[in-house]
C-alpha cells in the first residue's frame, strides 16, 4: 500500500470491485442500511412515475424504441466499418484518435497525453467508462490529480466513496451527510466550504460551485466520456444536466474523450432518435439542459488539442455472443435500475461494479468474464420480473440475457464435476421428464401431507435450502391427494 505517500486526491474506499462478496451477501448488508433504502425508495419511485409520463406523452414512443434498437443493431453488425469511418472523419476534423484494447492501454494513453502537456491535474466530466477503467487511480499513481466536477460525483469523490447509481451517484447520501463531507474535505483539496455551511441544497451547490470554479479555471486538460460518436461526421456528443460538462469541454486547452466502441451511431440524422429517447428515459425530461456536440478543432475557440480514445475492454467479446450482444445497445439511461425492485432495495454498491442494476447484472459479467464470485452471482440477482425490459429505450431483452448467462454460469460450474445444486436439479429434471416420474414423487408429497394432516402450514425447517425459504416464510403442507390422483379417481368413477 502507498499509505505513506500523500495522496493528490481523496482516496477511494479500500478494496476492489472484484474482491467484493457475491451479490446475496452484499445485498443483505445493503438491506440493513435504512438511509439507503429510504433514499432509494423515494428517488426511484419519483423518477419511475415521471419517466412513464414522459414516455407516454410521445405518440410514437414504441416506434422510437424500435428505431433505437435497429440503429444500434446496425452499428453492431457493421461495427468494423463504422469504427473506421468514424476514425477517418475524426482525424480529418483534427482529432487524434487512439485505440485501446483494455483498461491498461487506455489509462496509459491518457497518462502519456497528460504528461506531454506537463500537467499535474485534470478536470473530469462524469463518465461511466472512465470509472470502468479506474482512470482516476491510474492518474493518481502517475502523479496527476483527477477532479470530478459533476456535483454528485464530487460528493462521492470527497466522501471517499463509490457511486451507487449511474445517474444519481450519491443517491445513498442525505444532505446533512453531504454538508459534513464538504466541510471536512473541501479545504483539504482546494477552496474550502464556508464555515457556516448549511445543509440547504442551494448552499451546498454554492459551495461546490466555488470549489470547482478554481479547478475549472486552472486546469489545462479535461477528460470526458461520450454519449455518442457520429460515424459519418466524426462528431462527439455529450448530454448532461449541470453545465459542468460544458465547462470541461470548453475551458481547458486539451480534451481527451474516452468512448466505448459501441457508442457509435451511423449518421447525424440518427442522433434525433437518441436525443429524444435518452433524456426522457433517464432524467424524465423532455430535453436535457446541456447537449454538447463538437466536430474536431475550431481554431481559436475551445480546446485546441482533441483526443479520442476508442475503448474495447471486453466489448468485442460481448459482440461475439449472439444473445448477449444485445446489451451493447445500452445508452446508459438508467431507466432499468430506476424501475428495478431489486435495485430499489439494495442500491448500486451490492452489484460490485460501476454498472449496477439490471444492465449491470448482464453487462458486468460479460465484460469481465464469469470468473469471480461476484460476477457469477450477478445473473442471479433478479427475479426476472421483466420491468426493465419494458422501459429500456433500446429494447434490450434483459431477462432473456440474464437467463442465458445463468446457463453459462451453470455450464462453467459443472464443466468438470457436478455440484450439489446440479445434482438436485438433475433430480428435478428427471422428475419433470415424464408424467409418471412426477406421479411417483407426488406419492411421497402426499404421504408427508397425510402425516401433517392437522396443519395447513409449516414454519421454519432447519435444513439447507429449506431454511432459506422458511426463515421468514411459512410453507403450505402438501395435500394428501394430488390433482393427478383426483383426476384418475374421477375418471374411474365416470366409467
Amino acid at each position: 500500500m502507498t499509505a505513506t505517500i500523500p495522496r493528490l486526491t481523496p482516496a477511494p474506499p479500500p478494496g476492489t470491485f472484484l474482491g467484493m462478496p457475491a451479490f446475496p451477501r452484499a445485498a443483505k448488508e445493503a438491506l440493513e442500511n435504512q438511509q439507503l433504502r429510504k433514499n432509494l425508495r423515494h428517488v426511484t419511485q419519483t423518477i419511475r412515475a415521471k419517466r412513464s409520463t414522459r414516455a407516454e406523452e410521445v405518440e410514437n414512443w414504441e416506434d422510437l424504441r424500435t428505431a433505437g434498437e435497429q440503429i444500434k443493431n446496425r452499428v453492431g453488425r457493421h461495427l468494423d466499418q463504422y469504427l473506421l469511418q468514424a476514425e477517418k472523419a475524426m482525424t480529418e476534423a483534427g482529432i487524434t484518435v487512439h485505440w485501446a484494447r483494455d483498461a491498461d492501454e487506455a489509462n496509459r494513453i491518457i497518462v502519456e497525453i497528460a504528461r506531454a502537456k506537463d500537467t499535474r491535474e485534470i478536470v473530469k466530466i462524469k463518465s461511466m467508462v472512465t470509472q470502468e477503467i479506474d482512470l482516476n487511480e491510474a492518474l493518481e499513481e502517475a502523479g496527476i490529480a483527477a477532479w470530478e466536477t459533476d456535483l454528485a460525483e464530487l460528493i462521492v469523490q470527497l466522501g471517499h466513496d463509490r457511486p451507487s447509481h449511474i445517474l444519481v451517484p450519491a443517491i445513498h447520501r442525505n444532505r446533512s451527510e453531504v454538508r459534513e463531507i464538504f466541510r471536512e474535505e473541501m479545504g483539504l483539496w482546494g477552496v474550502p466550504a464556508p464555515e457556516d455551511l448549511s445543509d440547504d441544497p442551494p448552499d451546498l451547490a454554492g459551495a461546490a460551485r466555488a470549489h470547482l470554479r478554481e479547478k475549472f479555471l486552472r486546469a489545462k486538460v479535461a477528460v470526458s466520456g461520450g454519449n455518442f460518436i457520429v460515424a459519418e461526421t466524426g462528431s462527439l456528443v455529450i448530454v448532461e444536466s449541470e453545465g459542468n460538462g460544458r465547462m470541461c469541454l470548453t475551458l481547458p486547452q486539451t480534451l481527451i474523450s474516452v468512448v466505448g466502441i459501441e457508442k457509435l451511431v451511423p449518421t447525424f440524422e440518427d442522433l434525433e432518435v437518441f436525443l429524444r429517447l435518452l433524456p426522457r428515459s433517464s432524467t424524465a425530461e423532455r430535453m436535457n439542459p446541456y447537449t454538447s456536440i463538437w466536430t474536431g478543432v475550431t481554431p481559436g475557440d475551445g480546446p485546441q488539442d482533441l483526443h479520442v480514445v476508442l475503448l474495447d475492454n471486453g466489448r468485442t467479446k460481448v459482440l461475439a455472443d449472439p444473445v448477449g450482444r444485445e446489451a451493447l445497445r445500452c445508452i446508459r439511461c438508467s431507466a432499468c435500475m430506476n424501475v428495478c425492485p431489486v435495485y430499489e432495495r439494495v442500491g448500486g454498491h451490492a452489484y460490485g461494479s460501476v454498472y449496477p442494476g439490471p444492465i449491470g447484472a448482464i453487462l458486468t459479467p460479460m465484460l469481465r468474464g464469469l470468473d469471480s464470485d461476484v460476477d457469477k452471482s450477478l445473473p442471479f440477482a433478479s427475479t426476472l420480473c421483466g420491468a426493465c425490459n419494458d422501459v429500456c429505450p433500446v429494447k434490450i431483452p434483459i431477462s432473456d440475457i440474464l437467463v442465458h448467462l445463468r446457463n453459462k454460469v451453470v455450464e462453467k460450474k459443472t464443466a468438470k464435476h457436478p455440484t450439489v445444486e446440479s445434482t438436485i436439479f438433475g433430480g428435478v429434471g428427471w422428475v419433470m421428464a415424464k408424467g409418471w416420474h412426477l406421479a411417483l414423487v407426488e406419492q411421497f408429497a402426499g404421504l408427508a401431507g397425510k402425516a401433517m394432516k392437522k396443519q395447513s402450514y409449516i414454519g421454519p425447517i432447519p435444513l439447507p435450502v429449506a431454511i432459506a425459504w422458511t426463515r421468514s416464510r411459512d410453507i403450505p403442507v402438501p395435500p394428501e391427494q394430488s390433482f393427478r390422483k383426483w383426476w384418475a379417481a374421477r375418471e374411474e368413477e365416470g366409467k
Binding site: 451479490f23 446475496p24 445485498a27 443483505k28 438491506l31 425492485p341 431489486v342 432495495r345 439494495v346 445473473p379 442471479f380 440477482a381 433478479s382 427475479t383 426476472l384 420480473c385 421483466g386 420491468a387 425490459n389 432473456d400 437467463v403 448467462l405 445463468r406 446457463n407 453459462k408 451453470v410 455450464e411 445444486e421 446440479s422 436439479f425 438433475g426 428435478v428 429434471g429 422428475v431 419433470m432 421428464a433 415424464k434 408424467g435 416420474h437 412426477l438 406421479a439 407426488e442 408429497a445 435450502v465 432459506a468 425459504w469 426463515r471 421468514s472 416464510r473 411459512d474 410453507i475 403450505p476 402438501p478 395435500p479 391427494q481 394430488s482 390433482f483 393427478r484 383426483w486 384418475a488
Partner: protein, 253 residues
C-alpha cells in the same frame, strides 16, 4: 347454448398445482365444464420447466419441452391456470430446443404454443365470456403477477373476469405493478432481498383491508401467502380460478 359447447380442452395443470394446489386445476375443470367444454387431462404432462430454465439448467429442462409437445400436440386448446407457466412454455420452449440444436422440436413447439392459453385468455378471447356465473361475497384484492403481465401478457382479462363476479368487493392494490420478490429460485438464492420485496407486497395487501389476495399464479401466492401467514395477517390467498368456480351453491367457509 353454453359458450364452450363442442370445445375439447386439454388442461395443463402445471406441476406446482398438480402437487401442491390441486384445488386450482379442479376449479378450472369446474368452470370449463360449467361453460360447456369437455376437459381432458393428458397424464403424460409434467411441467413448463422454468424452474430449471431460469436457474440455468437448459439441458435438464429440455425433456419438459419434449414432454409438453407429446402430451398436448393433438389438442386445439391447451389451457393452464398460470400466467407464469404458460408464459414460460410460449417464451422459452422453442429457445430451449434450439439451444440443444433440435430444430424439429423447436418447430413442433412453436406449433403447440400457438394453441396454449392462460386460463383467463381462454375464457375471454376464445369463449368470449367475462361473466362465468361466479358468486364470491368477499373483500378481494388482485395482484397482477409479473409473468402473467409481462411474459404471457394477459392484460386486464383477470380484472374483467373478477369485476363480473357477483357479490365481490374488489379493492385496488397499491403498487400492484411491483414484483412480489418470489422469482423462482431467486427466493432461496437471494432470500433476504426476496423477503424484503415480499414484505412490502404483504403490507400493501394488508392496507387494502381485503380478506383474500388473489392472483393467477400459485407460486407467487405461496411466497406472499407464506409471509402473510407468518405475520398472522389473517388474509387468505386464493387462485383466480377458485373464485371463478364459486357459485351461489358453494360459498367458501
Amino acid at each position: 347454448m353454453a359458450p364452450g359447447t363442442g370445445k375439447r380442452v386439454a388442461l395443463f395443470a402445471t406441476c406446482i398445482n398438480d402437487t401442491m394446489f390441486p384445488s386450482t386445476p379442479k376449479a378450472v375443470v369446474a368452470v370449463l365444464e360449467r361453460l360447456g367444454c369437455s376437459v381432458e387431462f393428458p397424464t403424460d404432462q409434467t411441467c413448463c420447466g422454468q424452474m430449471l430454465t431460469n436457474t440455468g439448467y437448459f439441458k435438464q429442462a429440455l425433456p419438459t419441452v419434449k414432454t409438453y409437445v407429446k402430451a398436448f400436440e393433438q389438442y386445439d386448446y391447451i389451457v393452464g391456470p398460470s400466467g407464469s407457466c404458460v408464459g414460460a412454455v410460449r417464451h422459452q420452449h422453442p429457445m430451449l430446443a434450439r439451444h440443444a440444436g433440435d430444430e424439429g422440436l423447436a418447430k413442433a413447439s412453436e406449433d403447440v404454443i400457438t394453441r396454449t392459453y392462460d386460463f383467463t385468455e381462454f375464457l375471454v378471447d376464445v369463449l368470449g365470456v367475462t361473466d362465468v356465473g361466479a358468486y364470491f361475497p368477499h373483500r378481494v384484492t388482485y395482484h397482477p403477477t409479473c409473468h402473467s403481465v409481462r411474459v404471457a401478457k394477459v392484460g386486464d382479462r383477470p380484472m374483467r373476469l373478477l369485476e363480473a363476479v357477483r357479490g365481490i368487493d374488489l379493492r385496488p392494490l397499491p403498487y400492484s405493478d411491483q414484483c412480489c420478490g418470489f422469482g423462482g429460485t431467486f427466493s432461496v438464492k437471494n432470500p433476504d432481498v426476496s423477503v424484503a420485496m415480499g414484505a412490502d407486497k404483504a403490507h400493501h395487501v394488508m392496507e387494502t383491508g381485503a380478506e383474500y389476495l388473489v392472483t393467477g399464479d400459485n407460486a407467487c401466492l405461496m411466497h406472499i401467502g407464506g409471509l402473510l401467514h407468518r405475520m398472522n395477517a389473517g388474509i387468505r390467498t386464493i387462485h383466480l380460478a377458485e373464485i371463478l368456480a364459486h357459485t351461489d351453491a358453494e360459498v367458501p367457509a
